[in-house]
C-alpha cells in the first residue's frame, strides 16, 4: 500500500493556526524554529509534543514562557522516544478503559538527542512498534551546549570539539545514516525533508500521522551560529543542501526507497560549503583531501539511494 495523498498543494493550503507561537528565544533565523512552526501546522487533531533537552527545549519552555499551544513534555535529553512511548500507551489503554480522547504523539528532537544519546531509546520505541511520529530536527551538532560534534556532524565540519586544527582539520568521521538505522527496525515509514521545501515537509508529516505504527522523519534545519552564516541565509542554505545532493530528500515506505526531489543536475557541493564558516578550512590546499572525502561521501550516498530506488527491493 502506498499512500500518495497530498494534503497541502500550495502555501495557501497551510493552516493559519500557529501551534508554535511567537516569543520563543531561538536565534534569529533559526532553522529549527522554521521546522517547528511548519511541522505543527500539519497536525490533524489532538496532538502532544515530546521534546528532549536542546535548543528548542530551552528556547520554548523556559518558565514562565512556553511557545507551545499543544501539550508539551520535556523530561531529559536521551529519553524522548521512551517518554513518548509511555504517553502513547497510556492514552491508548485509558481510551479503551475509560474513553479518554486519543492524541497523536510527536517527538521533536535534535540530532544529538537522536543520533547519539537518544539512539537506544529511539531503537527501543521503534522495535516495540508504538504509534508515534519521531521527528529529528538536524542542525548537525550539539548547538545548545555550544556547537560540539555529534554523530550527525558531516565529515570535515568544524565544531568546538572537532575544531579545524593544524593536524586534524575538523571532524574526521562520516555522518551516521539515521534513516538506514530507522528502516532496519522494519518500520512502515521513514523520510527525510528539508525546511527549504516546506510543502514536501508538511505533507510528509501529515502522511506519517495517517500511518499506524512508528514513523521517523529526519529534517535538515540549518543553525546560524553553528554553521556560521548570516541569519537571512537559513532557507537558502537548506535549499543548497538539497540542490547539491548533500541532503537527499527521500522516503522509505515499507522498506521501499523513493527519492522525492530528483536532483538531475546537482550544483557543485562547494556552493553549499562556501556559504558556511564551518567548512571554510576545507578550501585550504592542505585540506583538499578532507573536501574530497566529503564529496565522495555525498556522491556515494546519492548513488546508493538511486540504486535502491531503481531496484525496488524492500529494505
Amino acid at each position: 500500500m502506498s499512500s500518495q495523498t497530498i494534503f497541502y498543494k500550495t502555501p495557501k493550503d497551510l493552516p493559519r493556526e500557529e501551534w508554535f507561537a511567537s516569543g520563543h528565544r531561538l536565534c534569529a533565523g533559526c532553522g529549527a524554529g522554521i521546522a517547528a512552526r511548519l511541522i505543527f501546522k500539519a497536525i490533524r487533531g489532538p496532538t502532544v509534543v515530546v521534546n528532549p533537552t536542546g535548543c528548542v527545549e530551552v528556547s520554548t519552555s523556559c518558565y514562565p514562557y512556553t511557545a507551545w499551544k499543544i501539550p508539551y513534555v520535556h523530561v531529559a535529553f536521551e529519553n524522548a522516544a521512551a517518554v513518548a512511548s509511555g504517553v502513547v500507551e497510556a492514552i491508548k489503554i485509558l481510551n479503551k478503559k475509560r474513553g479518554r480522547k486519543l492524541h497523536d504523539v510527536i517527538v521533536f528532537a535534535g540530532d544529538g538527542g537522536t543520533f547519539d544519546i537518544g539512539l537506544q531509546a529511539l531503537s527501543g520505541a521503534l522495535e516495540r512498534g508504538h504509534n508515534l511520529l519521531y521527528i529529528c530536527y538536524d542542525n548537525e551538532a550539539y548547538m545548545n551546549t555550544g556547537i560540539q560534534r555529534s554523530g550527525a556532524t558531516p565529515i570535515g565540519a568544524a565544531t568546538t570539539t572537532s575544531p579545524a586544527g593544524k593536524v586534524i582539520p575538523g571532524k574526521q568521521e562520516r555522518k551516521k545514516d539515521l534513516i538506514a538505522i530507522a528502516v532496519a527496525h522494519k518500520i512502515p515509514y521513514a523520510a527525510t525533508a528539508s525546511i527549504s521545501h516546506p510543502l514536501d515537509l508538511v505533507n510528509k508529516v501529515r502522511k506519517a500521522l495517517e500511518i499506524e505504527g512508528p514513523k521517523v522523519l529526519h529534517v535538515l534545519a540549518p543553525c546560524v551560529p553553528g554553521w556560521r552564516y548570516p541569519p537571512s541565509e537559513t532557507v537558502r542554505i537548506a535549499r543548497l543542501a538539497v540542490e547539491t545532493r548533500y541532503f537527499p530528500v527521500y522516503e522509505v515506505e515499507y522498506g521501499r526507497v523513493k527519492i522525492n526531489i530528483r536532483v538531475k543536475e546537482p550544483k557543485p557541493l562547494e556552493e553549499f560549503l562556501k556559504a558556511q564558516g564551518r567548512f571554510s578550512h576545507l578550501f585550504r590546499p592542505e585540506n583538499a583531501h578532507v573536501l574530497e572525502a566529503l564529496k565522495k561521501a555525498v556522491e556515494e550516498n546519492w548513488e546508493r539511494l538511486v540504486k535502491l530506488e531503481e531496484s525496488g527491493i524492500a529494505l
Partner: protein, 396 residues
C-alpha cells in the same frame, strides 16, 4: 473492620508485589529484567497476557527508558508501576530525580541488591541510598505481607492531592523477593474501593494544553524545589491517614516504623528491611532473660519520621543503628548519619554506634542479632561505645 477473613496463601515476595499491583487498577507497567525483581514483571506480564489484568505491559530496552515510559504514561493520566534493583536503579538515577521533581505519581518496587563492583546479586540497601535525596517517598518492608500491603498504600500516598510524588516499596533481595511466606491478601473489591481508577489532578490534554518539564532560571528554581520539599514532608503527614484507611479494609495497621518493646528499652537497635524480623526474635529471647532491649524497623525512610522516632527513643540509653549500606569515606552508613543528626538536633545525647552488616547478602544470623543487642546493652550500661562504626563480621 467486620471484613470477611481472607484466605491465607503462601507466596514469595516478588509474586506478592505483582498480586498487589494487579489488584490496584494499574494502567501501565514498564520495566526491564534484573535479578531479583524479575519475577514481579514476569507475573505481571502473565496477568496481562492472560487477560487477568487490563493494562499495558511494556518491556523497555533499558531501565532508563522504563522509568521514562512511566513518566510519560503517568503524565498522560495513567496509574503506573515499575520495578527494578541495583544496576537498574542506578541506570534510572537521572530520571528518578526528574520523576519526583516533575511531581509524577507512580510506584516502584525495589528489590534491594548491591551495586557493582564486584558484581553481586544479593541483598544490600546501597542501591536505593543514592535516591535518598530525590524527593521520592521510600518505604521498606520487613516481610512479604508488608511488601504486599505497602504497595497499595504506596499508590494511594503517591496520588494523594497534597503529595503527588513517586513512592518506592523496598524489599530485600532474595530474603523477601524469593522467600515463600504466608500472605493474607485483601479482596479485589476492597482493593478497588481503596484504589479506584486514578483521577489525575492534571494531565496531558489537548483541550487544556499545559507545558510540562520546563526549564526554571534562578529566579524561580528555588521556589519549585521548596514545593518539592513541602510535598515530601506532606507525604509524612498524610501517611497515617492513608495507612489508617488501609487498616480499615485489611485489619493491618502501618506506622512509620515497626517496633518491638522499644518504648521502655534501655538499648535499642534500629534497622531497615527484613533484619527487623531477626532482631525481633533475638530481642524476645533476651527479654525473656530480663534484658531490656528493643528493636525498631523503619517503614518510612523518606520522608524521615523524625518526630515519631524521637518520641520513641526519648528514654533509650543507647542506640545501635544497623546499615546494610555504607558511605565510603563518610562517617558511616546512611541511616546512622541521619539518626546522629536527628538525635543531636533534638538534644538526645545517648551513645550511638553503627553496625554495618550484610553487604552483598552476607548472612546475618539470629546469634549475631543477639550479639548486637548485647553490645547495645553494654553501651547503655557503660554510657558509651568503644567505636563509632563496626563492619560486622568482616575479616579485617
Amino acid at each position: 473492620m467486620a471484613r470477611q477473613a481472607q484466605e491465607r496463601i503462601a507466596i514469595m515476595g516478588d509474586e506478592a508485589i505483582a498480586l498487589a499491583v494487579k489488584q490496584s487498577n494499574v494502567d501501565v507497567i514498564a520495566a526491564y529484567p534484573i535479578t531479583p525483581q524479575t519475577i514481579i514483571v514476569e507475573r505481571l506480564s502473565e496477568y496481562v497476557a492472560n487477560g487477568e489484568l487490563d493494562a499495558a505491559f511494556i518491556q523497555a530496552e533499558s531501565e532508563h527508558s522504563a522509568l521514562s515510559i512511566c513518566v510519560g504514561a503517568s503524565l498522560a493520566g495513567a496509574r503506573v508501576f515499575t520495578s527494578t534493583a541495583s544496576q537498574g536503579l542506578a541506570l534510572m538515577h537521572e530520571i528518578v530525580y526528574a520523576t519526583s521533581s516533575m511531581r509524577v505519581p507512580m510506584v516502584m518496587a525495589i528489590a534491594n541488591r548491591s551495586l557493582n563492583a564486584p558484581l553481586n546479586i544479593h541483598c544490600e540497601h546501597g542501591d536505593v541510598m543514592p535516591e535518598r535525596d530525590s524527593g521520592w517517598v521510600h518505604l521498606f518492608a520487613t516481610n512479604v505481607q508488608e511488601a504486599y500491603d505497602l504497595t497499595f498504600i504506596a499508590f494511594k500516598l503517591s496520588e494523594h492531592p497534597d503529595v503527588q510524588l513517586p513512592v518506592s516499596v523496598n524489599l530485600d533481595a532474595f530474603i523477601l523477593t524469593h522467600s515463600v511466606e504466608p500472605l493474607t491478601p485483601i479482596s479485589d473489591e476492597d482493593a478497588s474501593k481503596f484504589l479506584p481508577p486514578r483521577q489525575p489532578l492534571y494531565s496531558i490534554d489537548f483541550d487544556s494544553p499545559a507545558t510540562f518539564g520546563t526549564m526554571a532560571l534562578p529566579d524561580t528554581y528555588m521556589e519549585f524545589k521548596y514545593q518539592l520539599k513541602e510535598a515530601a514532608e506532606k507525604a509524612g503527614q498524610v501517611y497515617p491517614e492513608v495507612a489508617g484507611e488501609y487498616a480499615r479494609i485489611s485489619g493491618r495497621r502501618y506506622w512509620y516504623f515497626n517496633s518491638y518493646m522499644a518504648d521502655d528499652a534501655d538499648a535499642v537497635v534500629l534497622v531497615l528491611g527484613s533484619t527487623y524480623g531477626t532482631l525481633k526474635v533475638a530481642a524476645r529471647r533476651l527479654r525473656e532473660g530480663g534484658l531490656k532491649v528493643g528493636v525498631v524497623g523503619l517503614t518510612m525512610f523518606r520522608p524521615f519520621p523524625e518526630k515519631q522516632l524521637v518520641e520513641l527513643l526519648k528514654n533509650a540509653k543507647s542506640l545501635i543503628v544497623m546499615d546494610r549500606a555504607y558511605s565510603y569515606g563518610g562517617l558511616g552508613g546512611p541511616l546512622y548519619m541521619e539518626v546522629l543528626a536527628m538525635l543531636y538536633r533534638n538534644g538526645l545525647r545517648i551513645p550511638v554506634m553503627n553496625v554495618v552488616y550484610g553487604l552483598g547478602g552476607r548472612d546475618f544470623r539470629l546469634d549475631e542479632a543477639e550479639a548486637v543487642l548485647k553490645i547495645a546493652l553494654d553501651g547503655a550500661r557503660r554510657g558509651r561505645f568503644d567505636e563509632h562504626v563496626r563492619w560486622w563480621g568482616v575479616r579485617a
